[in-house]
Assembly symmetry: C2
């Protein structure tokens, strides 16, 4: 129950911003999609107020409150002024459109920012998308992958982004509830590598010549798996036991020699 | 280039099936979404042929060919007859709606089936969704997660499913190009566990009492990380070297004893 409220608080930090949408029906359909995924803030940048009836027809009665609360601006800079992170969505991959993200990668980047930031998801007009000037406001640009060069319906693009973001927030909340093991820190790992090295030298596994190569391989092996604190202790336990055993044997040998 | 054609071949195995859609505009918008994501087969189950002009308005000229090639049936069983795997989409979670998947999990299940199967993605009518009777045809049911109980626009639901499926197919093609390490098989792992056990017994790490507990921990540790063939060989190399070293020491002791 609490998680649901936490999610709602996070989603309230996101606004859907539509830059000069031509068709009021698309604003309504976008409002419905936003509402479905738990977003409630809708901002429209447009010189003329859009036709209310046409918006409501596509918003359905479930999203009427989003249309009622819709913020209308005539200037994009003004509409975006209060946001600390802005995501621009684009279908075109022009010269200045190099660093575009898949919506899923965008979600990974912004979900951690949500608690402390207000974030705008900016969509361009149906017929031409966002201009380079519009994109100058953006910290990140996303493109929904399509099979060929083809532009998505505006409200469908809003729906896909909202769906990804909502899924990302829910996923993060689920992750938090999961058991997270305490991974070994660098200090623990370094101690373990030294300990392992002493043992390997003792048994003559590491020849001076390939010593560096092997220690690098061992670091890569043990490092790749994000091993846990507990496991570092167990590995060092084995090393300690080996060295004790080795010592015992040498003492035996020593005592036998003095016989 | 080849990958693109391979993807197109796979996507041709999928049909979007709309059960009794009320609004021809939604059929058109669904056709456009399907086309955006590389799908070209659209099937409508409906007693009256839908109004062509209303469909085309939302399909836009890019997806006109999907509307032209649209298959019209009056009976769902007949429409689905040639498909070997059918996915039903639903917003409702009734008593018989227990095993519903997130669209992303559905994609994981069906992408491997694509090369050898024809797959239908079935969507219900706008006002009531699929009935239990309709769902009897389905091998799998998906629900797009929403913030509250709220039903998505039909074409948006189609867009989200097509987007997930297209992303899944592209992702699979990318994965195929990636380096896949050869993981150790069970035979290699068992050989390694035995070898490690011999060493641990030799140094007296495993007391008889906690022997089982420790070997289980070690199996869990080494098993969890999906270690590679190459790494099994390296670990066994260390074991072999230890046992050789141990043997040498005992020989030294032995030879000293005979002095």
């Amino acid at each position: 129950m609490n998680t649901k409220r936490d999610n709602a608080n996070l989603l309230a930090h996101v606004a859907i911003v539509l830059m000069e949408p031509k068709y009021p029906e698309n604003i309504g359909a976008a409002a419905r999609a936003a509402m479905n995924m738990g977003f409630s803030r809708l901002i429209v940048v447009r010189h003329e107020p859009p036709d209310r009836e046409k918006m409501l027809k596509m918003a359905t009665h479930n999203a009427t409150h989003l249309i009622d609360a819709m913020e209308l601006h005539t200037d994009l800079a003004e509409a975006l002024a209060s946001f600390s992170y802005i995501i621009g969505t684009t279908a075109r991959k022009g010269r200045s459109r190099r660093n575009v993200s898949h919506p899923r990668d965008m979600v990974e980047k912004i979900v951690p920012l949500l608690p402390n930031n207000h974030i705008a998801l900016l969509f361009g007009p149906e017929h031409r998308g966002l201009t380079n000037e519009d994109l100058n406001f953006c910290d990140l640009t996303t493109t929904i992958p399509t099979a060929d060069f083809s532009s998505l319906n505006l409200a469908q693009a809003v729906a896909i982004h909202c769906y990804e973001l909502y899924s990302g927030v829910v996923h993060m909340a689920d992750e938090k509830k999961r058991f997270v093991p305490k991974l070994a820190d660098s200090y623990e790992l370094e101690g373990m590598y030294s300990h392992v090295e002493v043992v390997l030298r003792q048994i003559g596994f590491l020849k001076q010549a390939d010593y560096e190569y092997w220690m690098r391989s061992i670091r890569r092996f043990l490092g790749r798996y994000h091993i846990r604190s507990k496991e570092v202790k167990a590995i060092r336990g084995v090393c300690r036991q080996f060295l004790w055993h080795e010592n015992q044997q040498q003492e035996t040998t020593g005592s036998k020699e003095t016989k």
